[in-house]
Symmetry: C2
Subunit: 254 residues, 2 copies
Amino acid sequence: MQDVLIRKLEGFESLSDQDREALQSLMPKVRKVPARTDLIREGDAPEYVHLVLDGYACRYKMLPDGQRQIMAYLVPGDFCDLNVFILDQMDHNIGTISACQVVDIPRHAIDDITARYPHVTRALWWCALVDEAVLREWLVNIGGRPADHRIAHLFCELLLRLEAVGRVSGNSFDFPFTQPDIADTMGLSNVHVNRTIRELRALGLITLRQRTLTILDVERLKAYCNYNPNYLHLRNTRWGARRIIPWLSSGHGG
Amino acid sequence: MQDVLIRKLEGFESLSDQDREALQSLMPKVRKVPARTDLIREGDAPEYVHLVLDGYACRYKMLPDGQRQIMAYLVPGDFCDLNVFILDQMDHNIGTISACQVVDIPRHAIDDITARYPHVTRALWWCALVDEAVLREWLVNIGGRPADHRIAHLFCELLLRLEAVGRVSGNSFDFPFTQPDIADTMGLSNVHVNRTIRELRALGLITLRQRTLTILDVERLKAYCNYNPNYLHLRNTRWGARRIIPWLSSGHGG
DNA sequence: CGAGAGCTTGAGGTTTATCAAGTAGAGTGG
DNA sequence: CCACTCTACTTGATAAACCTCAAGCTCTCG
């Protein structure tokens, strides 16, 4: 189970045996967290860096009117708050979706390892930058695409991210998010999410039942929402080669 | 002009004279960039870190159908790509809105300074984390709020960010963004942006003419969109005290 | 002074939200 | 193990938010 992080990092940079051992030493004891439980809340001072080894969590904010906006899905191998430690208080919450296996890494452990293992440091940096790139793409997704493309895009992204940590088999993966979860992620109502998923099912693009999502035709689903995985900055995976942005010819001015 | 960065960083952490000198040394020569010009494009390899000293720029992506999504506004004192250097290619563009004064900082200069000045390093980290926090809040804004609140929220944020670098006088500041710019930022049509701004004007909340935005009643505008500045993580400013999140009582589970 | 872009407003259409109600599942306590 | 409860899922009907198209005006820039 601890190998998801190493597996993910090696999607970016080759690691030596020493690097791997150093990473292993970060996760001495794993903690079980039930589903639908907050790991850290808005206003808390960040002390530990949380790492998800198994299960799904999310980053979210609550608005004054009770609305929830989910800003990130955290899957096995993802750090919850790698880069928050300088800030004196959390400006958002992190909560589990399904039951999770989590490691709480004290800050000094991260400091120690980055002081001694430059490859690991680079790889952790890469994690943080990719998380931010994903956030940017989510903004594009919500701001610029209609509901059906939005949800299709989310499914494509999860497929690639989970594949990078070995959690996909036969284009199927665990999907414990409820339709209200998806609604609060995509800025849609749960009714509309339901109808949109029905549409994706009717088009023969996916099946979703008993918390398992299957992409029936990956290429067709990607084409459906114009999916471009460049923002994931994958290198050593089967999607890593995709580097061309054919429509990108004219930005403004220049 | 070079002092905007120092002024901004001191909003977070007190700097010594040596720290300030070190920061000054980062910006030996300033470059003028015309309005509506790209500083760096999707697909480019990031070489320099760009710092805006004067003028406005933005981070944006182009979609295959020609739609533009703006993901960040860069104002004086903002780094464009402080944290991108590990990634081998840009996944988005950065372009100016108005004419800008920009510094191109080579990577090694950042490395040198962070190796020797821990306070400066902390302050630069803080910049990067706040930029990410702003991005999260934009996601909340676009995903969770109606058009009028969205735009009001943007105006509140700009007021605070520009105030932190001394670019506000009498609740007025330079606003070179066009209505199409705002539309591509907020995920709205330019027609709807126009009507929404008309509404904010009619409510006596703002005036906007000749590229100058004036907030007529700051407290009322903030109340209008439930603005909470905690995500800016300001400390040494007049807004820094705001730390309470009154409605935050129940996340999920616990 | 001319051209292009931005601003403004109207009309009509599409997408998405809200309200409502019934069904199905999952978890809980006896 | 079963009944109960709560949440999620599903579908229909209606309403609101927002978009598109279109046209005229204004501003800015060359």
